[in-house]
Amino acid sequence: MTNSNHPTPTHTGTGFGRVIVATYGVFAISAFARAAYQLITDFHTAPMAYSLSGLAAAIYIVATIALARAGALARRIAAWAICIELIGVLAVGGWSVIAPNFFPSATVWSRFGSGYGYIPLILPLIGLWWLWRHRGHTT
């Protein structure tokens, strides 16, 4: 099965995938910056929230690189990272709504990413859809 939109339908980092990788890249940078700042300056005030920030940053970085690269392994890593990301945003999002006291300081995923225009909630869905569209393609 080939995609007729572009000549090399092989990997997830081309075509619309470029936009997905760019958006993941933005979140990788901002989540990393936020986590690094929180973890270095005042980890002790909200260790749970800041650890989750760190986890989110790591997942965004892995997903960005994996989506940008070709090959079956990269796609598998991307799928895992995005699944964890989706579970994370749903769990932390739901949790932060039910028990806001548990998260005295915000993470990227708090309230389903409302501080980031809910993009953290939409992005994994688009990412998984894109991977699913490219299933079975090998380079």
Binding site: V19, V21, V26, S30, A33
Partner: protein
């Protein structure tokens, strides 16, 4: 001065984002108009950062160093990286990548202005 530059750069980059999205809808690759627009936007972002740095060193700005330099790096760096990533895509989606870069820079500048103590 900082706020004027933030406004001016935002208008330029907003216009570039709108233009690239229209071009993407027309299934065009990024063209010279986009390149020049992004160049002007980057110039604005660099000037914004330079003025912010001058104020950082001269006034006593109560903003943590890590936060400040993180934002400066991103405000200056996002457009070139976005441009490099978008120009490699020889389809309409290259234009959308440019729009993502332009809008991200605008958001970063205004977020920095929010954090910037008056």
């Amino acid at each position: 001065m900082l706020i004027v530059l933030a406004h001016a750069t935002s208008y330029v980059l907003g216009a570039v984002a709108l233009w690239t999205l229209i071009e993407a809808l027309r299934a065009k690759r990024p063209g010279w108009f986009t390149v020049i627009g992004l160049g002007i936007g980057e110039l604005g972002a660099v000037l914004f950062s330079m003025i912010a740095c001058i104020r950082w060193f001269t006034d006593s700005v109560h903003m943590s160093a890590g936060l400040f330099w993180g934002y400066i790096l991103c405000v200056v760096g996002v457009l070139p990286i976005g441009f490099w990533w978008g120009i490699g895509e020889r389809s309409r989606w290259g234009n959308v990548v440019m729009a993502v870069g332009a809008l991200t820079t605008v958001v970063l500048m205004w977020r920095m202005m929010q954090l910037w103590p008056a």
